[in-house]
Symmetry: C2
């Protein structure tokens, strides 16, 4: 396998803009420096803009995307009922996390590549009173896109008190999200996918309703690092352009986030949604023309930031991944426990999608076609 | 206040080497890429070397230094007795964290600037059976250095089963630590102080005895993101040069850590201890010659990576900090709740200490002298 750096076309980390990388190399700056305070404050504001909200509360903290799951400890009390709509590995593990914090989990799932229907969701939400319904917007293990707008509509029409929590780790910045309009309560993401920033930041956005549930909880939050009692005053302070301290923020990553968010906001999020949809549709057409089948079972349930594709007969992940690597392209194998060896995954998010002149998508298509041909596959 | 970048002479984040900053800008690389796997694996090994251990288990995770406190949830079960030896703000908050996880805290403290004596520690450890004794190696709020060698000696001689947990956030990489020889069980740190890497990595080192306590605990770990059941297999895999996944590591920060650890190991940790001691002693002499008094009450209880200094009569933090800032030097105000407005803090760690040719220490001394003079202080 090549020891050279490859174009990173996995479902995150994605390729990063040169200006974002330059921000990563910002020389030492105090977390309370008047230079840094507005950078953090503006980043909080721009996260809100990216999810199309006017009133939600962003939390930007140092940690992996997974830390966002952990923060749901702020909204749960022992014994709370949670409905987890799972479309793969990440839905299942989100459930595992919530269970640690005392949630009683009901999982609604379906076959690999499918997603529970609106009727099934309606029935599940009607059957029991849930404190929270979680849904993985794009499950990175299957490339299945959930219809979070409908999920929220269903949940809120049956039980307005129930919180709608979206795992948007592989969707914020690449999929259409209308936080306020769709009545979402929480969107969780990480820095390294649609937001185009190196990994290391956990980003969570919470609705006023979610913050209210947090503030009126009856038992103390059984966590220290994830505790919003610690983080909320910090976020409010920086947004008010005042420094504050709970734990040292990842200053350089926040500079990088600021740079990327400025690009995203300047380009317009509507245009960003549309471009990701167009490039993804075109990518799926290439897959289809090659005679391959994607894991997601329909066009409307296909993610716009990544595609999971079944391997053709006779081609394996340990053959295909190195074949593309030798052509300078990093793709990913499968991770769904039911079928990890039977498919592969390609990411198409961020600058690889938004900046045609980089030719990233064309390069991955070319490398995929020639690798499959080398491995004896005929379309 | 100047809007230009200043030399960051606070007790962390410290100044970063150009090569470390260049590593921060490493282009997108998959966390399972064969290029990255050995970088992570070697970093784990070098962390062990920096604390002079042969058998301890490092955990390198995405998060602030504070996350290291949180990870003590792996070693505690509800009702466990913990003795917290506190020398300031960070000791007190470490106690607060452990309490969230069900620990019954006994705090041993002393006046600001002092530290509990060995006799007091001996008496406290003899009075009750503790699951864990924690000690802040350098409390960043006071600049007080604890004698962790003696603490461990006392604890282990009275109660070998008791775990000795060192908060080394402001000491790893700048203070003498001999993990194996001194019988330490846990050392916690962050990336942005003595290790010379931008903030965003939590680093925890655990002894075989601590790992054994973790593995034989009777109740499940009540945390998800901080759970060593998740992280231990990841650390073991990367050290064996195999990729593994729980949460996406902060790839660029790990590259930066690798670069800095290589420099530290190449220079030799013994030489690093000695240089920090020498520069700190010299810095304290300057403080004394200026007629100022440091917060730490004795030479032997003074940190070698930072100094906290009482403000002279008539000079305030809102005067002194901007005065140094206007000369291109960032220093920090106080944070100890009993006396935050009465003192200031200066960091002297990492390249600012190890590379004389940068003249960082001379610059901060010059700026301090001229700022005090401007503000009407006469030595």
């Amino acid at each position: 396998m090549s020891a050279q750096r490859k174009l990173c076309m996995i479902p995150g980390p994605i390729e990063f803009h040169e200006d974002v990388l330059a921000s990563m190399a910002t020389p030492a700056t105090s977390h309370v420096d008047p230079l840094f305070v507005p950078v953090f404050g503006e980043s909080i504001e721009m996260v809100r803009q990216v999810v199309l909200s006017e009133k939600a509360q962003p939390f930007i903290t140092s940690g992996s995307g997974t830390l966002g799951w952990d923060m749901m400890v702020n909204l749960l009390e022992a014994g709370d009922e949670v409905l987890v709509i799972s479309t793969g590995y990440f839905g299942d593990h989100f459930a595992e996390c919530l269970e640690v914090y005392g949630a009683k989990i009901t999982t609604l799932t379906s076959d690999v590549g499918a997603r529970p229907s609106n009727e099934e969701i309606k029935a599940a939400v009607s059957a029991k009173k849930y404190k929270m319904v979680t849904v993985t917007h794009v499950d990175t293990s299957t490339g299945v896109l959930s219809d979070i707008k409908s999920v929220a509509e269903i949940v809120k029409s049956i039980s307005p008190e129930t919180l709608v929590v979206v795992d948007g780790v592989c969707s914020v910045g690449s999929e259409e999200i209308r936080f306020d309009q769709w009545n979402l309560d929480v969107v969780i993401t990480g820095s390294q996918k649609g937001l185009g920033v190196p990994p290391g930041l956990s980003i969570v956005v919470a609705s006023p309703q979610a913050i209210d549930v947090f503030k009126t909880r009856k038992t103390p939050v059984p966590s220290y690092y994830s505790n919003w009692n610690k983080w909320l005053p910090i976020m409010e302070a920086y947004e008010a352009r005042k420094p504050a301290y709970f734990a040292t923020p990842a200053v350089q990553l926040v500079y990088a986030l600021h740079t990327s968010l400025k690009q995203i906001v300047a380009g317009g999020v509507e245009a960003r949604f549309a471009k990701h949809q167009q490039v993804a549709a075109d990518f799926r057409k290439t897959v289809k023309d090659l005679g391959l089948k994607q894991v997601a079972q329909s066009e409307e349930s296909s993610a716009n930031g990544m595609t999971a594709i079944w391997l053709p007969e006779g081609v394996t992940v340990p053959q295909l991944v190195p074949a593309l690597a030798s052509k300078g392209i990093q793709i990913a194998g499968g991770i769904h426990k039911a079928c990890a060896t039977q498919y592969f995954r390609i990411g198409h998010m961020g600058i690889s999608v938004m900046e045609d002149e980089r030719q990233h998508i064309q390069k991955v298509k070319n490398a995929l076609v020639s690798s499959l041909t080398e491995l004896g596959y005929k379309a």
